[in-house]
Chain length 452, copies 2
């Protein structure tokens, strides 16, 4: 019956999603402030049409949060759906094969910024809700909280959650903002890495200098920054910040074995990425490196002359954006401070250092023995014909730790993307099949969850 | 008499120079191709007006070369003046206090891109020629060769010189494209460093990746590039490229002592640059580090997300522009090859490397016992009241080695800039006094040179 409803309405579902994808709701770019709001308003309208009792555009000092609810019966269990309608910047634009905000379907995949992360996945919940309403199959109370600042660190969600504990009361959080292993191997993410993201500025001389006149005698901030970045890892691929690993939970041999049971083909992985070799912390597999180990990556670097041709400049400044992925029980505020202290301490006297924290989030682990997790697992099994594999994911959804802390609620991470969806990259896409099966799986989750 | 002529006409001289400075002849930027030509044409007109026998705009596959000559008497000695009318790109534009191509005089300095390097210094020779013509004081034959590609490696000068040996026949080359120590300490540059300038590209995965999903398992090209750059210097501040120092001429204790006799105040140097400490090769003074030692500097670096806010990307590519200043008897072609081989050899298997040579030039030393050098020294002494100090300069004028090789001619580097003129930087400037005294010194040089 659900399947039939989805089949009948799939073209309309896709058309609606395309309308949402056409709105360039890039939260990091202040020029798109109006577009971010437009995306929120679009969701408000669609939730209204789908039959919620009430829906609100909640203002924050940044981008608004969409809140909606449908209370079927106060005695029934309540599911709070979280997601985000903002997207990553589309740069570099020239690598997109079709414009990022003009969605198209190619090879049964929807190509557009946000198609997977997270508009496509959020919209599955809106349409699952519509289906249950139309089929009279909604057996739980439902609440929606869809924010517009996830890609810039969910800056104002914290206060919103703290100030709306009563409104947000629920039994479980349901989030679709993660990936399954493959269409053949459904999986549920049970752990997420935290994040500490900073920008560093290294200042040498007070102005750009001629590299011939001063080179060799005055510290070059780009060379200095390079050396500082290089020294953040040792030969084992471990991060050298003192205390960085102090709170890292080392998993048991059995837990590590379980993680490595997930299907993974190194040759295929390398081929798909076009690399001849992988690289990471010694003593850990790729699945462990991205799942249970903390990391440090430069996300961007710039300084000096970057235009056409040659300019013999010894630049005054060099910059980098550096982020660390964290695992339980690392604390992102602590790690940001450890980074800042260490980075400043290793700088030579010949330069000045500025570290600006940009955003952060706590790592989290979700329980696998809860009623909700079991319902999610059963839903996957029913729709996909296979029991989903629990996995540890490399990405960060800081909201998971926030929900646990402020609302006392566990989360089920029922995501439907694929790692190959190129989220945060040019040519982001999302499988039409993932989108449609996702809606069906979500509806099926409610059936199992209500029964339990 | 010379002094009086300069005094009388100084306002016109400056007005004309300003017209030349208003032409944005940025040779590195193809959008300015027409402007570069315009600057050449301006010189053609002004040389004509000043009374040359003939002047030509010589085409090359790149920007044209201005050639002019005044043959007073074939039996007299001939001076070939070399200079360039192209300028460095003005970036970063926002650091200029007045627009780079709208010259203004502030504190008796001319602020504009090219005011010192090299339009201002070239134009002194045009006006010195004019003065000698008007005063009937030209006692030598004069030739001018003013090119438009010095800031991009003088790519087509080589062929031009080889093909015009007869036309360029002279007794000495005179170039004003260097600096004096200060207005109180005139000096003549006797050595110039060579240059090897390359661009490197490090490619990791075939697309930008989400740093959460892949970070820690896939080599990050920015981290890799940083490490590679860091490993180009050892703890002694020496360049680690094997063979890099093999041909470096080590100076005698006496020669080093002579270099260090030049006035230099470390506190003032640090204060003027706004730095707390200097940095360079151990065992050498600042004057030695910039004068007689080879160096390696990153002139620009870029990769990943460099916009506003935070983007958690593991970039596909990272780039750097790297240049090495060379000293006798290093060979720039050899050094570029050594760099390329070494840089490729230290790359991990997880990335791919591309090295593109951008430009290069040979280091050179000019004799201090020649008739021309002595005439230059006498001219400085007569006009400035002090004997000029011979210095080794950090910059590069590859033409010096080219002239020696192809034309068998020595060069006198009679420059009048100051190291603090911010050439290649925002707010480049050139002292009005330097400009006017320079013209007088040049005229005086001819007097002494003809007498010898």
């Amino acid at each position: 019956m659900v399947k039939q409803y989805i089949d009948t309405h799939q073209q309309r579902f896709l058309n609606e999603l395309f309308e949402l994808l056409r709105i360039p709701s890039v939260s990091a770019d202040s020029r798109h402030k109006g577009d971010v709001r437009k995306a929120a308003e679009y969701l408000v309208n669609k939730l209204q049409e789908a039959g919620v009792d009430k829906v609100e555009l909640c203002e924050t000092p940044g981008h608004p949060i969409v809140y909606a609810e449908k209370i079927v019966n106060p005695t029934l269990p309540t599911v709070l759906v979280y997601g985000h309608y903002d997207v990553q910047p589309p740069d570099p634009l020239d690598l997109w094969t079709s414009p990022p905000f003009e969605p198209v379907i190619k090879d049964e995949k929807i190509y557009a910024r946000g198609s997977c992360d997270d508009k496509g996945q959020v919209y599955m919940h809106v349409k699952a809700f519509e289906a249950m309403m139309k089929l009279n199959a909604l057996t739980c109370n439902m609440k929606f909280m869809i924010e517009g600042e996830e890609e810039v660190g969910s800056e104002h969600l914290d206060v919103f959650v703290k100030e709306n504990k009563e409104k947000l009361k629920a039994d479980i959080i349901l989030i679709s903002d993660t990936a399954i292993i493959s269409l053949d191997h459904p999986s549920i993410t049970t752990g997420l890495r935290g994040l500490s993201y900073v920008e560093v500025e290294v200042t040498g001389p007070n102005r750009d200098l001629h590299s011939g006149v001063y080179g060799g005698a005055v510290a070059n901030p780009v060379n200095v920054l390079s050396k500082m970045i290089a020294s953040m890892h040792d030969e084992q691929g471990r991060v050298t910040i003192p205390g960085f690993y102090d709170k890292v939970v080392e998993l048991s041999a059995a837990d590590r074995e379980a993680i490595n049971k997930a299907p993974f083909n190194l040759d295929h992985y390398k081929k798909e990425l076009g690399i001849d070799d992988i690289q990471g912390e010694k003593g850990y597999t790729t699945l462990e490196r991205t799942g249970i180990r903390p990391t440090l990556d430069v996300n961007g670097i710039w300084g000096g002359y970057t235009g056409e041709g040659a300019k013999t400049v010894l630049p005054s400044k060099a910059y980098a954006k550096i982020s660390m992925r964290l695992v339980p029980d690392q604390n992102n505020t602590e790690i940001t401070e450890l980074f800042s202290n260490y980075f400043t301490s290793i700088a030579p006297k010949s330069v000045k250092i500025k570290v600006t924290p940009l955003h952060g989030g706590q790592p989290g682990v979700t329980p696998t023995d809860s009623v909700a997790f079991k319902a999610a697992s059963a839903a996957f099994e029913e729709v996909w014909g296979k029991k989903p594999i629990p996995t540890r994911d490399g990405g960060s959804i800081p909201i998971v730790a926030l929900f646990k802390k402020e609302l006392g609620l566990d989360t089920v991470l029922m995501g439907f993307g694929l790692d190959s969806d190129a989220i945060h990259s040019p040519n982001e896409h999302y499988g039409v099949k993932n989108f449609l099966l996702g809606i069906e799986t979500i509806v099926t989750f409610y059936k199992h969850f209500a029964k339990a």
